[in-house]
């Protein structure tokens, strides 16, 4: 079962640079491997990760088969106002997961 881990500071001062960390459990099957009987193991990866803050997209990345299982994505942003970060992972076989976290900016 997919599960997301999120680390967003609960509080920050306006203008602070903050680090956001995410980890999504996912097999990230490349599509290049074969079973013992020679059949290809179908690709099953996360293809896209997006972060929105108060509805506006602030970070997006595309993922490819070379990326390891359980992608750990971390990035920095500037704290401008209090609000809500929303995270979304989309992938093969209709994979879709979301998570969110709030920040209070003084």
């Amino acid at each position: 079962m997919a599960s997301a881990l999120i680390n967003v500071p609960a509080k920050a001062k306006r203008g602070d640079i903050i680090e956001i960390k995410t980890l999504m459990s996912h097999i990230m099957e490349t599509g290049y491997r074969h079973t013992a009987s020679g059949e290809i193991v179908p690709r099953n990866i996360i293809t896209s990760f997006t972060c929105r803050f108060n509805g506006n997209e602030i970070f997006r990345t595309d993922l490819f088969p070379a990326i390891s299982a359980n992608p750990f994505i971390t990035f920095f942003t500037t704290a401008t106002e209090s609000g809500k970060f929303e995270f979304e992972w989309i992938g093969d076989r209709g994979f879709s997961e979301t998570a969110s976290a709030s920040i209070s900016v003084e």
């Binding site: 881990l5 999120i6 680390n7 960390k21 980890l23 459990s25 299982a69 359980n70």
Partner: protein, 423 residues
């Protein structure tokens, strides 16, 4: 010297370091007078020094080791929980000296690979024909923010047996019932890969019998680990609900520690410990780096056929410090490497090609008194690296008497290897 010149030429021709050349026949010289210096008196170095004297009593073998007493790491997890006392872990170098090895109770300060000399802490120097480095590990006190040498007093790693083992034991003994012991495990490579989980098991055993409301939390920078199914089955059977493990993919990688509040920080959480055992990332013992034998990983690349360094001529590296492919960093591996390295040195000094080594190693894990399981392997060089060619692990579903027999086998293994090395 002719041998040196040959190696140099090969280096230039191939654009690689001297090890491959060193593994090939080089002109024999007066073997009887060969001076071999071994740095580090653990299972690797002591076995090697002793084997060299056994193979050729004319060799002048020196063993440089600053500690007068050796404290063994295997079984030291049992000392933490009072199943064993420290003197049972300690051995002297008397018998090694009696075997004709010059035991020099000093630290090596410098290696000059060109002049083929080792400088000692007191300023004297020793010349060698072949140098064996068996320096074990150093803890990387620069790798985990907040975890330096002084932090290791508050949050003992216990990854070099001795004072650290006792510090951790005292903390576990002093902890009140209901507390949490947190064990932080680094990513591979590390000395004795299954030992963090053995430690968790034995601490759980201690807590179950003395402080049953307490817990053990493992914060792990790895997803899978050695003998995982055996450990997890034992935890379920012996310590239900007492041991929790947060793996890498669950956010278990420790990123910093704060000693003042005894807090361990991961990418996704803060954990306040009653007792914290923080095992930091590791590297080859310092002298390996000073000798130029360690690469940018902190470990020492070797030619597996002869343990010769790929970076510096006339130097061999054995034990935890070397990059030995699939061979785990463990006492029995170091001991086997020490003997194989001694045989390779004898061959090389008499102008022969060392025989391809075939090393076997065993690793026992005790999870409760009278309950142990094991892993054993046979390793040989393959594609310039050691590969496991045979391996066996205890069955996951096995009757309790097998675990009992393995616990006895573990004790017997320890007696054998320590007698063989130090007795």
């Amino acid at each position: 010297m002719v041998a040196t010149r040959l190696m140099t030429r090969r280096d230039v021709a191939r654009g690689i370091a001297a090890s491959a050349a060193a593994a090939l026949p080089c002109p024999a010289f007066a073997q009887g007078t060969a001076r071999i210096v071994v740095i580090g008196g653990g299972f690797g170095g002591a076995s090697c020094a002793r084997a060299l004297r056994q193979l050729d009593p004319k060799f002048q073998v020196s063993l440089i080791e600053p500690n007068q007493t050796f404290t063994a790491c295997p079984f030291s997890n049992e000392v933490i929980v009072g199943m064993r006392e420290m003197p049972a872990q300690q051995f002297t170098y008397d018998r090694i000296a009696a075997a004709g090895v010059a035991v020099i109770a000093q630290a090596a300060a410098k290696v000059d690979a060109q002049a083929r000399t080792v400088s000692l802490a007191d300023g004297t120097s020793l010349a060698y024909d072949r140098l064996v480095l068996s320096p074990g590990i150093d803890l990387r006190f620069d790798a985990l923010p907040g975890y330096d040498e002084s932090a290791s007093i508050k949050m003992p790693h216990g990854w070099k047996a001795g004072e650290q083992t006792i510090l951790l034991r005292k903390q576990v003994e002093a902890m009140e019932d209901g507390g949490t012991v947190v064990i932080a495990v680094p990513a591979a490579p590390l000395r004795c890969p299954p030992a963090p989980y053995e430690r968790a098991s034995l601490i759980a055993h201690y807590l179950k019998t003395r402080k049953p409301r307490s817990k053990v939390l493992i914060l792990d920078a790895k997803d899978g680990f050695s003998q995982q199914r055996l450990f997890e089955a034992a935890w379920k059977e012996l310590y239900p609900g007492m041991i929790e493990r947060i793996a890498l993919s669950q956010g278990g990688r420790v990123t910093s520690v704060e000693t003042a509040s005894n807090t361990i920080v991961t990418d996704f959480g803060n954990y306040v410990a009653n007792v914290a055992s923080v095992i930091p990332p590791q590297k080859a013992g310092r002298i390996a780096e000073l000798a130029g034998a360690a690469d940018n990983t902190g470990w020492c690349p070797i030619d597996p056929a002869s343990f010769t360094s790929k970076l510096v001529p006339n130097i061999h590296v054995i034990g935890d410090a070397c990059i030995a492919g699939q061979i785990p960093k463990a006492a029995s591996a170091a001991s086997a490497q020490g003997k194989a390295c001694a045989a390779a040195i004898v061959a090389m000094l008499s102008g022969k090609t060392p025989e391809t080594p075939r090393l076997s190693g065993a690793c026992y894990n005790t999870v409760a008194p009278g309950y142990a399981f094991s892993l054993s392997g046979v390793y040989q060089p393959k594609d310039d690296q050691f590969a496991e060619i045979e391996g066996a692990t205890s069955p996951v579903n096995a009757p309790r008497d097998l675990r009992q027999r393995e616990a006895e086998a573990a004790e017997s293994w320890f007696r054998t290897i320590t007698v063989e090395t130090f007795g």
